[in-house]
């Protein structure tokens, strides 16, 4: 039995309900919190994978893509993109962190050059 379009229905019926229940337990504000949702999201992914195995579909496929896009549109549409793995701070914080030490370095160098020049004059 090859992969059919039933797969799309199957994952909707089979996997999405559990995920819906899990998300309903959480407060809507927690939907964007990765620590709270990662387990359910992982289970949802697994479920789609196992259904694919059973229905002789390869995973992932276009229906999986569409399914997850719908899930994201419903549950995660206003979550910030970053915040999952370790990431750099935004540029407005990173910039000063980098530029200020460089400027201080140049200042210190100029100071040392100036002081050593001046000491020549004294001697």
């Amino acid at each position: 039995m090859a992969c059919s379009s039933h797969y799309g229905n199957a994952i909707e019926e089979f996997c999405l309900a559990k995920f819906k229940l899990d998300m309903e337990v959480l407060d809507q504000r927690q939907w964007c919190s990765w620590e709270d949702t990662v387990e359910s999201y992982g289970e949802l992914t697994n479920c789609t994978f196992l259904v694919a195995l059973k229905m002789n579909c390869f995973w992932p496929n276009q229906m999986v893509d569409e399914f997850f896009i719908r899930v994201h549109r419903h549950y995660f549409h206003d979550c910030s993109l970053s915040g999952r793995l370790l990431h750099d701070p935004p540029n407005r914080i990173l910039g000063p962190f980098i530029v200020v030490p460089i400027l201080v370095t140049l200042l210190m160098t100029a100071l040392v050059v100036w002081r050593s020049k001046r000491s020549e004059g004294i001697v």
Partner: protein, 598 residues
């Protein structure tokens, strides 16, 4: 920066090879690359999906082969119960599941409406309220997960012993799920494809995210770092064919991305990474030994002391500490993934010191450059400068970028042992170092310019002059660390890249040895002092063997002879040390004479 990537290659491969050694790797990637990428989920399926859900899934796979007349709702798993296919417009009911606090004698009903869709209740309360045997207030507090734990706890031993295999696989899965989430988010938010012509739709292939790609094109990105044997400096390619569909593997007829390069050269690269690792350790060890010998020489021979030698001593000392820190770091942290996993505070402190010593190294090089510049260009060959500012710049100032980096790292990118080099926060330390190197380069070029013009003024032959200038520059380059400014980019070609790695590693890790050799062992004055000392010992030893008065008197004259040159050399400390070779003194002495008379 090229050397930074080299260091990352080194550390990542050392970490990966030890990980692969201690844990079992996942199923052979070569075979699996043509099959489903998410095979690792299979091993954990029993734990993740309950037996009831699995049974339901089994039944689902057997559905669909027989045709039913009329409309019906398909098989459905609602989280706790399996609902069979039901004709449209009817109720389906079954007993409550056999869970604690559930009454299995109660029934749950669901309605399949006329259009063939299940009517889903909007909350848990309605669905299971019949089943619960205790008060309704408790319904709200029960999480759905709690029900599932009763099944998964059937196998407690598997859960209690969290072996490294499980934790590593869990880490991998976490990264992949994370990637998947970010991918679908991106797919949602990105603009729809607005160029004309056929294209392949954006997709998630199980490991990486792919954008909309025009038909007939290859697209590529870097390999992910999910697995120990994946080289994240290699590329993954994906082909969008002319019909606007992603390339399908001919054997399995499924969309396929080419991950073969990620593991193709891994063994060779591992071998090379280990070679580079041992080279680094040997280089730093040799540097420490030679630098300590040089320091001993500088401290023992008081006659050698002058301001430039004092700066040399500080520079050598910072090199010694830098090498020691690097060796400790390489041996205890880089080669030791267990430590990284434990993430003790000590390894972060060690990293802080490493950053500080790195800064000290380069800032002392800058001090040497400033000193030379002041000496030669600003106030030619005058003797005394106040060294306090140099000490401040060399030892005190590097605390500033190192502390800022530590604070920023703790707050924004607090990974295990601060090992990761994938963060721009490293530029907090490397930025000032690069600035120092650039200023040094400027000073160097200025010094060379002055030397060349002064040499030209003495009317020497052209070739001689350029020879001297070139030799002087080449001797100064290792001192001032310019190689990091000139060679920051790694070539793409594999062979050229390997050669580049070897050269960069030799330059980086044997630098201490090089500096000690050129500025101590090849220094004419040092050689002279050592020779004199050796003659003294020989003479004294000879004196002990033969107790004749004549021998004693010759030894007295020998010592008095050795005293005079030392006194003479003291004045010419500055001019000699420019080239480090005694033979070139004549030019510079003439130059100096020329200066005073001009």
């Amino acid at each position: 920066m090229g050397w930074q990537e080299t260091l990352w290659l080194l550390t990542s491969f050392i970490l990966s090879v030890t990980k692969a050694g201690t844990t079992e790797t996942k199923s052979e990637p070569t075979a699996d690359l043509s099959l489903t990428p998410v095979m690792m989920a299979v091993e954990g399926e029993r734990l993740i999906m309950t037996q009831s859900q699995y049974k339901c899934l089994e039944l689902l796979s057997r559905d669909g082969s027989h045709n039913k007349t009329g409309l019906f709702c398909s098989r459905f798993w609602d989280g706790l119960l399996c609902w069979d296919e039901t004709p449209a417009g009817t109720f389906a009911s079954q007993n409550c599941p056999d869970y604690p606090s559930f009454d299995p004698l109660e029934k749950v009903t669901k309605y399949c409406d006329e259009s063939g869709n299940w009517v889903h209740s909007s909350s848990i309360n309605k669905t299971w309220s019949h089943c619960l045997t205790f008060s309704k207030e408790k319904i709200k507090t029960l999480p759905v997960h709690g029900f599932l734990e009763t099944e998964t706890e059937m196998d407690p031993t598997a859960e209690s012993q969290v072996s490294p295999v499980v934790t590593q696989k869990a880490e991998e899965r976490k990264k992949i799920i994370d990637g998947q989430y970010k991918c679908f988010e991106k797919m949602n938010r990105d603009q729809p494809y607005n160029k004309s012509g056929l294209y392949c739709n954006r997709t998630w292939d199980g490991w990486l995210c792919w954008d909309d790609t025009p038909a007939g094109m290859y697209t590529s990105q870097y390999c992910p770092n999910y697995f120990p044997d994946f080289d994240s400096t290699e590329k993954v390619t994906k082909y969008c064919d002319e019909t606007g569909n992603w390339f399908r593997h001919p054997e399995t007829n499924r969309t396929w991305s080419n991950y073969t390069l990620c593991i193709a050269h891994t063994k060779d690269k591992l071998k090379m990474a280990y070679i580079l690792y041992y080279m680094a350790i040997v280089g730093h060890a040799l540097s420490i030994v030679s630098l300590l010998i040089s320091l001993a020489i500088f401290f023992y021979f008081r006659s050698l002391s002058c301001q430039r030698i004092t700066l040399h001593k500080n520079l050598f000392f910072s090199y010694v500490l830098n090498s020691a820190c690097t060796i400790v770091n390489l041996i205890t942290v880089v080669n030791n993934p267990k430590v990284v996993q434990r993430n003790p505070i000590g390894c972060k402190v060690l990293h802080f010191f490493h950053m500080y010593m790195l800064g000290c190294n380069y800032f002392w090089m800058l001090c040497e450059g400033i000193y030379l510049h002041t000496l030669i260009v600003v106030a030619v060959f005058a003797e005394e400068q106040h060294l306090h500012w140099y000490y401040l710049l060399g030892w005190g100032f590097p605390l500033v970028p190192a502390s800022i980096h530590a604070v920023a790292r703790k707050k924004y990118f607090d990974d295990n042992c601060w090992m990761s080099v994938e963060t721009h926060l490293l530029y907090v330390v490397h930025g000032p170092i690069m600035a120092a190197l650039l200023v040094n380069l400027f000073f160097l070029l200025n010094i060379v310019r002055v030397l060349v013009t002064k040499l030209r003024d003495t009317h020497r032959a052209e070739s001689n002059m350029y020879m001297k200038a070139v030799r002087a520059t080449l001797i100064l380059v290792p001192l001032l660390g310019i190689q990091f400014v000139i060679f920051p980019w790694r070539p793409e070609n594999r062979l050229a890249g390997e050669i580049y790695d070897y050269i960069m590693h030799i330059l980086m890790h044997y630098q201490g040895l090089l500096v000690a050799t050129i500025f101590c062992f090849f220094n004419g004055e040092v050689q002279g002092a050592l020779k004199r000392q050796w003659m003294q010992y020989k003479a004294q030893w000879g004196q002990r063997r033969r107790e004749h008065c004549s021998m004693r008197s010759t030894s007295y004259t020998a010592t008095s002879i050795t005293e005079v040159p030392a006194f003479m050399y003291h004045h010419d400390c500055n001019s000699e040390h420019l080239n480090g070779k005694q033979t070139e003194d004549s030019e510079l002495v003439a130059l100096k004479m020329g200066e005073t008379y001009a």
